[in-house]
């Protein structure tokens, strides 16, 4: 969109150029690798995890990490109050965090993009209806809203995803609506109408590809947020139910032993920190890469 006439650059699609700009930042690339590493660990958990995450061994109750006295290499990060291997539980817990994060963002972005495009392009009563609904949903505190929904529907993977997506779609919706409002006034949209393009064609094929970058950026930031929310719900006992490992519930499990066995809470907490931080850096990098004005 910038006014720089590119003379002799090779013909590359704007998407490829953006990805190249993203990869040029070492920090972004490192964090992207970290995030992908977490995803791979999560998918390959049964192959990678040294132990069964739910196998309790009371002889190893609160066994410290390998480098401390009484630790074992086989139980690298120590064991929890039931003698379960913390490293294995973190690997399995990544599945819950990443799956819920991705699922919520997928559902929320799909709904948000559809609603935002409709509100921003069609305007009129569609816009009024969608925007008022968005305003109402924004009025509820997020976590309390989710807790209330789960209290009604009961805990469980599907209910958690629905409870979080119920409000999460509002955010991509607002982004898409605003971008669509700006894009619909541009001449290439008018040109498409003059050529006989239907509203659906214009929304999907002309406007959406141009507003996808902010949507991707927002989705990644929000994914980090959803992972924290899921951890919070699990911490409060409203997440996936025991014995399934989840980072939030692991932190909660370790609360009672913080002084004697700090590792029970600390390592899953660190896992949350690293994943969320990496996702945020990646989204920052994506924003810089997708926005040519940020480019040096």
């Amino acid at each position: 969109m910038s006014a720089v006439p590119a003379a002799a650059r090779p013909a590359r699609s704007p998407v490829l150029e953006n990805l190249a700009a993203f990869a040029a930042s070492k920090l972004s690339l490192t964090c992207a690798v970290l995030v992908l590493g977490c995803v791979v660990l999560a998918i390959a958990a049964p192959l990678v995890a040294p132990h069964d995450p739910n196998e309790a061994d009371l002889f190893r109750r609160l066994q410290p990490p390998a480098w401390m006295e009484g630790g074992e290499i086989a139980y690298l990060l120590g064991c929890d109050a039931l003698g379960r291997d913390i490293a294995s539980r973190i690997i399995y817990g990544a599945r819950i965090s990443i799956f819920i994060g991705a699922a919520v963002i997928l559902v929320a972005t799909t709904i948000g993009v559809l609603a935002g495009l409709a509100a921003g392009y069609l305007r009129g009563w569609v816009d009024v209806a969608i925007s008022r609904l968005v305003d109402i949903l924004l009025g509820f505190p997020y976590l309390i809203f989710a807790i209330a929904l789960i209290a009604m529907t009961g805990p469980g993977l599907q209910n958690i995803i629905l409870a979080l997506a119920y409000k999460e779609w509002v955010i991509p919706c607002r982004v898409v609506r605003g971008e669509t409002l700006a894009a619909r006034e541009l001449e290439y949209v008018e040109a498409a109408r003059a050529l006989g393009g239907s509203s659906r064609y214009i929304m999907w094929r002309e406007i959406l590809p141009n507003i996808l970058s902010p949507v991707i950026v927002v989705s990644t930031v929000r994914m980090a947020h959803v992972i924290i929310l899921e951890a919070s719900l699990s911490f409060l006992g409203l997440g996936v139910q025991p014995p399934t490992a989840s980072w939030g519930s692991m932190v909660a499990d370790g609360r009672a032993f913080m002084l004697d066995a700090w590792w029970v809470s600390t390592f899953p907490g660190l896992a949350i920190l690293v994943l969320v931080l990496s996702i945020n850096v990646v989204s920052q990098g994506l924003r810089d890469a997708f926005d040519p004005r940020m480019r040096r």
């Binding site: 969109m1 910038s2 006014a3 720089v4 006439p5 590119a6 003379a7 650059r9 013909a11 590359r12 699609s13 704007p14 998407v15 009024v128 541009l186 001449e187 290439y188 008018e190 040109a191 498409a192 109408r193 003059a194 050529l195 006989g196 393009g197 239907s198 064609y201 002309e206 590809p209 141009n210």
Partner: protein, 334 residues
């Protein structure tokens, strides 16, 4: 492209009382309280005929409603009142499907060669879109037609895979022209197609538009604020002021014997070499275009008119024919 006006041909486009107001009344509160809000009178009661094969130049200052008129003329925007007949069909009576079919014959070339091309589409995609939307061609035929059109506007097959940001302004405008002509339209609105370009490139694009018009038998409504450009391309000229056409006629009549004080001032504002005839009775235009939100009563030009009389502030003037095909909207012209 300045052939003499083809007076015998029937009008391809007939605008009658064409009006477009923008209602910027905001939100529920305004509607509940009955707040009339701000009404922008972009186009007000325009009558204009465009005959097949001619170029009508539409000239006026920025903000006078030229572009809006061009868009309403091809029903890219809905008129608030009035009608447009295209080749005998009233555009307002068409169903969405019929309108889509007619869109093939009504096209527009835009001013801004940066905003008018979707930055995410390659030239091939940009030019294939019109044909795909109307299911006119596919496969090798589609590629052939895109290639032929690209050649017609002076670009080559090596440009097919490039994206808009890799072209200069003039090249982008060529792509915009190619896109508008892919559907083989009859009537093309050229909305300031050269205003954003360098002067040297302007000449190339004007030459290209002229050649394409001859080769493809096009009819143009050519919008510009540049008198030199309008004088060069038009068969007939319409002068627009604050949403109304104040003078309209054959090019040589309007430029050589302008009757409306506004046209006279516009022509006087063109820098000219001292001593050329016709400079003496012309007046420089003072002040700015009044807001189309609150246009002056009576003749809309009277606050800036050098020869206004008391009547001008009270009554809106009617249109007077000063000679066949040359109409002026002014009390002082009889």
């Amino acid at each position: 492209m300045s052939t003499s006006a083809i007076t015998a041909a029937p009008a391809l486009v007939e605008m009658r009382g064409l009006t477009r107001h923008y209602d910027s009344r905001r939100g529920l509160w305004g509607r509940l309280t009955g707040n009339p809000g701000v009404l922008v009178q972009a186009v007000n009661g325009v009558d204009l005929d465009i005959r097949r094969g001619e170029t009508v130049g539409l000239i006026g200052e920025s903000g006078c409603g030229k572009s809006t008129l061009g868009r309403v003329a091809i029903r890219l925007h809905e008129p608030t009142a009035g009608s447009v007949r295209f080749d005998g069909t009233d555009l307002a009576t068409l169903s969405p499907l019929e309108l889509k079919r007619l869109r093939r014959r009504l096209q527009i070339i835009f001013q801004d060669p940066y905003a008018s091309l979707n930055p995410r589409k390659s030239v091939l995609e940009l030019l294939a879109t019109p044909l795909r939307l109307h299911a006119l061609a596919s496969g090798p035929e589609l590629a052939d037609r895109v290639g032929a059109m690209l050649q017609a506007v002076g670009l080559g097959p090596e440009h097919l895979r490039r994206y808009p940001h890799q072209f200069s302004g003039g090249q982008r405008q060529r792509i915009g022209i190619a896109r508008a002509l892919m559907l083989e339209p009859d009537f093309v609105v050229c909305d300031e197609p050269v205003s954003a370009l360098d002067v040297s490139v302007q000449a190339q694009i004007i030459g290209l538009l002229g050649r394409l018009k001859r080769e493809l038998g096009l009819t143009y409504l050519f919008i510009s604020h540049d008198i030199a450009v309008i004088g060069h391309v038009s068969d007939r000229i319409a002068v627009m002021y604050l949403g109304e056409i104040v003078e309209e006629g054959p090019r040589d009549a309007v430029l050589g014997d302008p009757r409306h004080p506004y046209t006279q001032s516009l022509l006087a504002s063109v820098p000219r070499i001292e001593g050329t005839p016709g400079g003496a009775r012309r007046q420089r235009l003072q002040g700015d275009l009044p807001s189309p939100v609150a246009p002056p009563p009576g003749c809309k030009f009277h606050p800036r008119c050098p020869v206004a009389v008391a009547r001008c502030a009270r009554e809106a003037p009617a249109t007077t024919a000063v000679r066949p095909g040359h109409r002026v909207r002014c009390h002082l012209v009889t």
